[in-house]
C-alpha cells in the first residue's frame, strides 16, 4: 500500500510542480552549477534563491514537457546570463576600456618594455605538490576576486565556463579587439597578484 502511494506521488511530480521538495531535491545541484559559473559562492546562493522564487511565480507555466529539474535549471541559466549582462552594460561603458590613459602603463614603460619592478620574477615554488596546490588555488581565487569587473567576468566565462570568445563578445557586446585588451590586462593583473601573494614568500 505504502509502496503504491509513493509510486503515485512520483508519477504526479512528473507532470506538476512540487515546490516543497525543491530544496531537498535540487538545491545542491543548482548551487554547484551556479558556483561553476560565477565563482563567488555568495552570488551563487543568491542566484539559486532567485531561481526558486521565480520558479514559484512561473509554476503555472510548467507543463511537464521537461523534468522539474531541467525546468529549474533553465531558469537558473537565465538568471546567470542576466547576472553577467547587467554589470557589463551598466558599470563598464566601453570608453573606460578604450580611454586615452593607458592602463598598462603600470606594467610597461612608454617604449613598451617591462618596468623593472613589474617584470616577471622566477616562480620557484612548485605548485604541483598537494598541500601547496590547495593553498595556490585559494590565492588564485582571491586574486580572481580582486580583478576589476569586466576583466573578472571575461576570465570567468573564458576559463570557468569554457565559453568561446566569439560568444562572450556577443553576449557582452564587445569587439574582439576589446576582448583581447581586457583579457591581456586581466592576465597581467592576475599574474602580478599571484607573484606578490604566493611566489614572493
Amino acid at each position: 500500500m505504502q509502496v503504491e502511494d509513493r509510486h503515485t506521488t512520483v508519477q504526479k511530480s512528473m507532470t506538476s510542480c512540487n515546490p516543497k521538495e525543491w530544496v531537498k531535491l535540487y538545491a545542491d545541484d543548482l548551487f554547484k552549477f551556479a558556483c561553476s559559473k560565477v565563482a563567488d559562492s555568495a552570488q551563487a546562493q543568491d542566484l539559486v534563491q532567485d531561481t526558486f522564487l521565480s520558479g514559484l511565480q512561473a509554476m503555472a507555466q510548467f507543463r511537464g514537457d521537461s523534468s522539474e529539474k531541467t525546468w529549474l535549471m533553465a531558469i537558473l541559466k537565465n538568471k546567470i546570463i542576466d547576472y553577467y549582462r547587467k554589470p557589463a552594460k551598466t558599470v563598464f561603458p566601453l570608453d573606460s576600456i578604450t580611454s586615452d590613459s593607458d592602463p598598462l602603463s603600470l606594467f610597461f614603460n612608454e617604449k613598451g618594455h617591462w618596468r623593472k619592478e613589474m617584470a616577471p620574477k622566477a616562480w620557484t615554488t612548485d605548485i604541483q605538490d598537494g598541500i601547496r596546490q590547495h593553498e595556490f588555488t585559494r590565492i588564485l581565487r582571491a586574486c580572481m576576486d580582486k580583478l576589476n569587473g569586466i576583466g573578472k567576468t571575461l576570465f570567468q566565462q573564458k576559463f570557468l565556463e569554457e565559453k568561446k570568445s566569439a560568444d562572450i563578445c556577443k553576449d557582452l557586446a564587445i569587439t574582439p579587439s576589446n576582448y583581447w585588451v581586457i583579457i591581456h590586462r586581466a592576465k597581467l593583473q592576475l599574474r602580478a597578484c599571484l607573484e606578490k601573494n604566493w611566489f614572493s614568500n
Binding site: 515546490p19 531537498k24 559562492s41 613598451g112 570557468l160 583581447w180 583579457i183 599571484l194
Partner: protein
C-alpha cells in the same frame, strides 16, 4: 598602441598580448614570427609566457575542483521562504 608597433618587432607590451592570443588560437604567420623573434631575445617575456600558461591551467582546474557546499541553514531558510510563498 603607438609608433613602435611593427609586426616583426613587437615590444614587450605587444608580445605579451600576442602570447595571450596564442594560448587560445593560432596566430597569423607574421605575428607568430614577430612573437617568436621577440621571445628569442626577451628573457622576461619568455618567463611571462611560461607563467601565463600555468595560470590558464590552474584556472581550468578551478572549475573541476569542487565548489563550496551549501549550508543546511541556508536550505532551511529557502524551504521556509517557499512554504511562506505557497501560503499566499
Amino acid at each position: 598602441m603607438g609608433h613602435h608597433l611593427h609586426t616583426l618587432l613587437p615590444c614587450c607590451k605587444e608580445a605579451t598580448l600576442l602570447a595571450e592570443k596564442q594560448l587560445q588560437q593560432p596566430l597569423p604567420l607574421l605575428q607568430r614570427i614577430g612573437l617568436q623573434f621577440h621571445l628569442l631575445y626577451c628573457f622576461f617575456c619568455r618567463r611571462y609566457v611560461k607563467q601565463s600558461r600555468i595560470i590558464d591551467q590552474q584556472l581550468r582546474a578551478l572549475q573541476a575542483s569542487e565548489g563550496p557546499a551549501l549550508e543546511e541553514s541556508v536550505k532551511l531558510q529557502w524551504e521556509e521562504k517557499i512554504a511562506a510563498a505557497l501560503k499566499k
